[in-house]
Structures are given as structure tokens and as C-alpha cells.
């Protein structure tokens, strides 16, 4: 294991678990739930942020309440894979407002993409007008998200 890795103790793990789930909990409450003082909780949170373990907060919407009822994941394969075409593809796809996540992957696809849409016909519009118009797309596969569960990960 590299030497610059951060060693977490049980308190850090408990704090991370709480904040990963709900980053809006007041420090007092974190302290109470992790059985430590508010000031210690504050110091620990600052340390976790400073060493980069705890990143930016992320706002999670109830998508339906804003009229977005469909989330689709696309696997995309590109036809040309020179570095210029990759950069061009990435620049174009991140600019699409309905595209939430773009990951370059190794496997049967080159990219994984998460897309939100108001409904299926709105998704069709995004797919036809935006995605299929992207440079270099040779093939794609769409899967409609039905449910999603976030797990705490290996900090327990």
C-alpha cells in the first residue's frame, strides 16, 4: 500500500458513512451520532475534506417532481478511436444538458453515459438529435433505469 494513503479510524468511517448518505446533517448531529463532541466532529470533517477523501456535496433531486421521469444508460462504441476523435466526442457529449454522467470504459463499449429525459419520447429526441449526431458513434445500447440503490461501500 502506498505511504500517502489516508488511514481512517472508526470515527472517520462513521462520519463518512453519515455524510455520504446525507451531507446536510449539522455537525452537532454528526457528533451525537458518532458519539463524539461537536468540535471533534468538526475537526474530523475538515481533515477528511482537506485530504480529499470527502469531496463536494451533490444535490439529489426527486427527478419526477421536476418532470423528469426517465433515466437511461447508454453503452456507446466509437468507430474511430484516435485521440483527436475521443477528445472531440467527449467535448460534444458533455455539453448535452440531458447527459449527467460520461465515463470512458474498457470492455464491450467505449463509454457509459447516463441520460435524463422528461419521458420516453423526450428521450427519443435526445437520442436522435443529440447522441446520434455526435462524431464517431458507431453503435450504442440503451437500458432504462428501473431502480437504484446506493451502498455505503467498503468503509463499514
Amino acid at each position: 500500500m502506498p505511504a500517502d494513503l489516508i488511514e481512517l479510524d472508526d470515527i472517520d468511517r462513521r462520519i463518512l458513512k453519515l455524510l455520504a448518505e446525507n451531507a446536510d446533517i449539522p455537525t452537532v448531529e454528526i457528533g451525537r451520532r458518532a458519539s463524539i463532541s461537536q468540535s471533534l466532529a468538526w475537526r474530523r470533517i475538515q481533515r477528511l475534506k482537506e485530504c480529499g477523501v470527502l469531496g463536494k456535496r451533490r444535490l439529489i433531486f426527486e427527478n419526477e417532481a421536476l418532470g423528469f421521469t426517465v433515466t437511461v444508460f447508454l453503452g456507446i462504441r466509437l468507430s474511430a478511436k484516435g485521440s483527436a476523435s475521443l477528445a472531440e466526442f467527449e467535448r460534444a457529449i458533455v455539453a448535452i444538458p440531458e447527459v449527467q454522467v460520461v465515463q470512458q470504459v474498457l470492455g464491450i463499449y467505449d463509454y457509459r453515459v447516463r441520460i435524463v429525459a422528461r419521458n420516453l419520447s423526450d428521450f427519443e429526441r435526445v437520442l436522435r438529435r443529440r447522441i446520434m449526431a455526435l462524431p464517431g458513434v458507431s453503435e450504442f445500447e440503451a437500458n432504462v433505469l428501473l431502480s437504484e440503490e446506493r451502498r455505503p461501500g467498503p468503509i463499514g
Binding site: Q100, V105, Y109, G153
Partner: protein
Amino acid sequence: MTKLDAMDFRLLRQLQADPDLKCAELAQKSGMSPATCWRRLENMKRDGPISRFEGSIDWTSLGYEIEVSLRIKLDKANPKVFDEFFYEVRKIPEVTEIQTFLGRVDVRLTLLARNSKHYRELYRDRILALPFVSDIEPLMLISTVKDSRCLPI
């Protein structure tokens, strides 16, 4: 849920651009008083559309170098397939996401591993041991180009 007005949308747009904004900064950017801003935020947290704020964990800084997306097809002949599969998957701490789909893929897991040896062990001992799996396609993450939950509002 009460109907959202233009001011609410202004707040939501500012907030999704930078969810770390403090209420005072947010109020200033959206052109309203801190009290109004706070009240509107509380309403939207209580009645929607704000579900929650998640903290993000940088797993690389904790020594998890590998992230693999496992696209899984299940043998759906048995009605208990999903329940039993989920029950077993939740026991694997390195799994950070479980998603179900309509399409060619039934379930997708995000799996973290410290290194390729660790990944091999997890894959062989935990993933292949999951019940009702008929096919697995792994996609290994090379880089994350964009990662948000922003909506085009």
C-alpha cells in the same frame, strides 16, 4: 407539493451548479434575502423536489484503484430471483451501487477493488458466487469525464 415558481427555479439552478454554497451566498446570487432563501430551501427539502445532499467519497484516496461496472443478466425463471440476488449482493461491501434495468441488462453493480489481484479475488469468490447469474459483462472504468445529477431546468 406546492407549485414551484421562478424564484425557486433560480435557487435550484444556482444550487445544482454549486451545492456547497452557503445560504447567504446562495441568497445573494439568486437576488433574495437570506431569510427568504432559507425558507424556500426548507420548503423544497420538505415537499420536494430536493431529495437530499449526498457527500461524495474519493475511493482512490482510500486505496481503491479499480472501479468496474458489472452488467449482469439473471436467469429469471424463478420468481424469487431478484430478492435472493439482492440479498446476497448487499453482503459484499465493495459494491457501491445496485441498479436494475429494462433492457438487455437486468442488474448493474459498481464494484470497487484495491488492485487487480483484489478484483480477481472479489470477482471469483463473491461475484461468481451470486445466485441466478446467467451472464456478466464487466466494463472497467478508465476515466470519469462528467459526473453530476444536474437536470436541464
